[in-house]
């Protein structure tokens, strides 16, 4: 038996470019990017920050806790802030990326509907 979706959203709900949802304890972030629809877990992979409360655009997602920036289409971490550290002895003072990525949620698009699965 196939797994039922945990959430469904019409494509029309993505008019502003993204759609946010809380389903039970799950946090879901749906973004219309230049490369198509992406569905990400709303828990920041850095220190569990609330991405749904961050700045979200078709290009990037910024966590409100530590200002880590993730690419909307790939989920990869683009930059970390780092400016607080003494530049001379820390490469992260230059805002290098960290090997982190947003967690994708499995989804499929059927007609006008995005079906999102919990795994």
């Amino acid at each position: 038996m196939s797994e039922p979706p945990i959430y469904e959203v019409p494509l029309s709900e993505l008019t502003p470019g993204h759609h946010l949802a809380r389903v039970g304890s799950r946090e879901i972030l749906v973004v219309a990017t230049d490369d198509g629809i992406r569905v990400w877990d709303g828990v920041c992979p850095h220190l569990a920050g609330p991405l749904l409360e961050g700045r979200i655009s078709r290009h990037r997602i910024v966590c409100p806790w530590h200002r880590y920036v993730f690419e909307s289409s790939t989920g990869r971490c683009q930059t970390v802030p780092g400016r607080i550290w003494k530049a001379a002895d820390d490469s992260r003072a230059n805002g290098e990326a960290m090997a982190l990525a947003l967690r994708p949620l499995r989804h499929e698009i059927q007609g006008d509907l995005i079906r999102i699965y919990g795994t």
Binding site: S25, L47, P64, I84, W85, K86, R92, A99
Partner: protein
Amino acid sequence: MKHSFTLVKRIAASRSNVIANYLDLEHLPVHSGLSDLRVMSETDRAACFEMTTKVGPFRVKNVHYFEFRPPHQIFHAIKSPLGPMYVLSTVEELDSATPQVRSEVTVLTTLDLPRFAYPARFLIEKLLRRLNEKVLREDRAILDRRQALVGDSVEDYLRDQQRILFKDLFRRHYAANRGGERGAREIG
């Protein structure tokens, strides 16, 4: 001329998460009253940084000395325009059946004020208490969420690329293979 006061904060998070929150300087953007943080030097258990703090209507740039006294104390000395301020925070894990009071933080603040400012000591205390409550409210958002999502685990703070103050010392006391914060003991 010295003036001291104590704050007691009860928090629904484990001691390990409360200490990690103190050492995680990168969460500063969460706090609207704090800005322009810049770490100037660091040793294994002490750091010196500058930061701008909004106290009431005033924005004050201070130099801070920040020291981790494992397993459960943070000593903080601040050089401010109104003289030095010393803050000792002690985090205790409570054996409470109520999840809302997992930890208790006792913050003992001592102001060493110049004579001209001493008559305003209670006003200064009031402004500092207000700032402290605001910072705590903002930190609670982090602590409550982390406690709900990752429980007592602080392993994400210990990743190779993660930058927190005094990470090695924190790891020695709070990493999972040390038995977590209940196993924390004075080894530093």
